[in-house]
């Protein structure tokens, strides 16, 4: 299998890449920091990847997306799986008062992914097969006071994916929307952890499994589907008073 991982040095991406490496896949990685990419590439080779290449890119540099993806497809030939993992968790208080920062966060967590999906869709239609999987978030299910800028960007992507899934149906391409709950990773280092938190490794296993099965919308771990259902049925006149 040939796997393209975007935002490859995030904790969940790294854990997923390791599973694919152990399966003997060829991988192409895209991320911002070259030293991290180099480390990850050697890790994946030791774990059994048949080939690892990478491109350095700041994903908010939209102008470079097309070129970088071209490189990835040249390196891998066809791409069986494209997994988009990058994101950042903004400080809500700051971004709701500062549009410039809000815009940057929405670019990182939303617009940059739409840009990538646009390119990827064209390429996957050409090859008439494959899976595009994107990590969104349970935060996109409903706008909550403590993180609605992040949530709005994520729901932008989720909505886009729903439409894209239909579009790609006749081209034998599946679209997977992975919505992790609370994940214990460097991105969430500042939060105290409780029983609802799960490890990047656990999320990665779920990602690999749902891509193999051709799932559509996946909550990771599964119990978040129940939690988010409950959150979604709270009437708005109650919900607007909640701050969680």
């Amino acid at each position: 299998m040939r796997v393209l991982i975007i935002g490859a040095t995030s904790a969940i991406a790294k854990a997923s890449a390791r599973i694919y490496a152990e399966l003997g896949c060829s991988l192409h990685l895209i991320a911002r920091r070259e030293d991290q990419l180099e480390l990850l590439a050697s890790d994946l080779l030791v774990r059994g990847a048949s080939k690892v290449s990478y491109s350095v890119l700041d994903l908010n540099n939209f102008a470079e997306h097309e070129k970088t993806l071209d490189t990835a497809f040249t390196e891998l030939g066809d791409v069986d799986i494209a997994l988009i993992c990058h994101g950042s968790l903004p400080d809500q208080e700051k971004v709701e008062k500062n549009f410039k920062q809000a815009q940057k966060e929405i670019n990182t967590n939303g617009i940059s992914i739409i840009s990538l999906l646009t390119e990827l869709a064209t390429k996957f239609i050409e090859q008439q097969q494959g899976t595009i999987a994107v990590i969104t978030s349970v935060a996109g299910d409903r706008g909550r006071q403590p993180n609605f800028v992040y949530g709005a960007a994520k729901s932008l992507v989720s909505t886009y994916l729903q439409g894209l899934r239909g579009k790609m149906l006749t081209h034998n391409v599946n679209i997977v929307d992975i919505r992790p709950g609370l994940v214990d990773s460097p991105m969430t280092a500042q939060f105290p952890k409780g029983p609802l938190w799960s490890s990047p490794e656990r999320i990665a296993q779920k990602i690999v499994k749902s891509i193999r099965r051709g799932s559509h919308t996946v909550y990771a771990p599964g119990y978040w589907r129940v939690i988010m259902f409950v959150v979604s049925v709270i009437p708005e006149f109650v919900f607007k008073r909640l701050n969680f």
Binding site: A11, D35, L40, S42, D43, V46, R47, G48, P186, A189
Partner: protein, 441 residues
């Protein structure tokens, strides 16, 4: 957060720092104020308080494989890589770790800091015997390399040094070639301690050798045991499908109510275990997980000893006095009615040159005890027996040894201190254990 070792005693609150890479780690160490101390933490598998401090520096994200040279049989990997991950990479290539402790969850950094040993110590030495090179971050924030050739004194202090010299970032390990990851096991029943010692001596060339012992048997049955010998199998293919095969047994969902663990239940368990083993076929072939890590099949087995946790007591006594010393220890335990499910006896080979490494030539016995007030005076009595026979306790399992006992039994502690003071004069690296043992503060 609340922090504790594998024995769940003692508990403390600590701040957890999880550097994303070695640069972040260096930045954190450089920014440390004089008053604060920290200690590195891998998988949290040391039993007592050796990985507890105000600040815990986790090696969780230092978990990359860096290079595997299959010709030279050398692996370089981050300190946070777990031994189980190394096995799943190595076994399909016909390679194996030369030393494996009783759990595959131990991190490379932890294995070096505690200089862990395995069932083959009598032939192959301890973990650090096979460590070629270590990169570690010193208290100054500087990243240095040490090995037997380069910064040798730092290397000798870091191997088995319980994290007190710096934070290990990565290490190069020598690997062994194996015919198979399956182990042909032979078991020999011994009706008393003398027989067990004889079996061990008679089979000194066996690659792996460890005995389970009924610690509550008395009089003529004292020390009745089953000796397990193992060799890498020549007949079975090596295990190649380690993917997705991580064992996840049911685990222990909650603490065993403490009152269930008493002399009667322990004796019953020990006697029936001995009875079953005695009647069992004496030869079997086991896969490497079942042979080396039987307890890993029960996640959270440390909850078996109740909510207050347990203490593991492991000591070594030189061969000359070993029979006598171990007999006294077992008698003392029976007399007090304490006991454990798992009592393990093994013969060590020669000690290495690391300053604080535990293994030295002789016999080592490991006991688990439920944590209770009455236990502490008993352990102090055991300390005296061990000291009287020129023995010592394993730092990775210790949670209560006194400074006097430590300094009397680890003769190289002063040389260790000289090196520690040279590289970490402000005691940036300190654990509850090192404070208790008078190595810091």
């Amino acid at each position: 957060m609340e922090a504790m070792g594998w024995g769940r005693y003692p508990k403390t609150t600590a701040k957890l720092i999880q550097p994303a890479d070695s640069q972040a780690l260096q930045k954190f160490i450089s920014s440390q104020k004089k008053s604060a101390s920290c200690i590195s933490r891998g998988s949290g598998r040391s039993y007592g308080d050796s990985a507890l401090s105000e600040q815990l520096v986790s090696s969780r994200f230092l978990d990359n494989f860096l290079e595997l040279d299959e010709q030279q049989k050398v692996l370089r990997c981050g300190a946070g890589v777990k031994l189980g991950d190394i096995l799943s990479v190595c076994i399909p290539r016909g390679l194996f770790l030369p030393v494996l402790p009783g759990t595959n969850a131990v991190s490379v950094g932890g294995a070096i800091a505690a200089d862990v040993h395995g069932k083959n110590h009598h032939l192959d030495g301890s973990f650090c015997t096979h460590v070629k090179k270590i990169n570690l971050v010193l208290a100054s924030g500087e990243l240095v390399t040490c090995s037997e050739q380069e910064n040798a004194e730092l290397f000798r202090a870091t191997c088995g040094g319980m994290g007190l010299t710096g934070v290990i970032v990565d290490a190069s390990l020598s690997l062994d070639s194996i015919s198979s990851s399956y182990i042909d096991q032979r078991s020999l029943v011994a009706n008393n301690l003398r027989e067990c010692f004889e079996h061990i001596e008679d089979n000194a060339n066996s690659k792996y050798s460890v005995a389970w012992l009924d610690c509550l048997a008395t009089d003529k049955n004292l020390g009745r045991s089953v000796l397990y010998l193992g060799e890498h199998s020549a007949s079975k293919n090596r295990k190649t499908d380690t993917m997705y095969r991580e064992r996840s047994g049911l685990g222990i969902p909650f603490y065993t109510p403490s009152f269930l663990l008493n002399k009667t239940t322990m004796s019953l368990f020990n006697a029936s275990y001995f009875g079953v083993q005695k009647r069992k076929k004496s030869a079997a072939t086991l896969d490497c997980d079942n042979y080396f890590f039987p307890l890993d099949s029960i996640p959270n087995w440390n909850r078996l000893y109740g909510s207050k946790g347990f203490l593991q007591y492991q000591f070594v006594i030189p061969s000359d006095g070993a029979f006598e010393g171990i007999t006294s220890v077992l008698e003392k335990i029976s007399e007090k009615g304490k006991g454990s499910f798992l009592t393990v006896l093994k013969k060590f080979g020669e000690a290495n040159e690391n300053l604080l490494s535990f293994p030295k030539s002789g016999y080592t016995l490991t006991l688990d005890f439920k944590n209770e007030l009455a236990l502490f005076p008993l352990l102090e009595e055991l300390d005296r027996i061990v000291l009287a026979h020129d023995g010592r306790l394993y730092l990775a399992k210790d949670a209560r040894m006194s400074e006097e006992v430590f300094k009397a039994s680890y003769p190289n502690w002063e040389r260790f201190m000289t090196i520690k003071n040279k590289y970490d004069p402000g005691n940036c690296f300190a654990s509850l254990q090192s404070n208790r043992l008078g190595l810091t503060q």
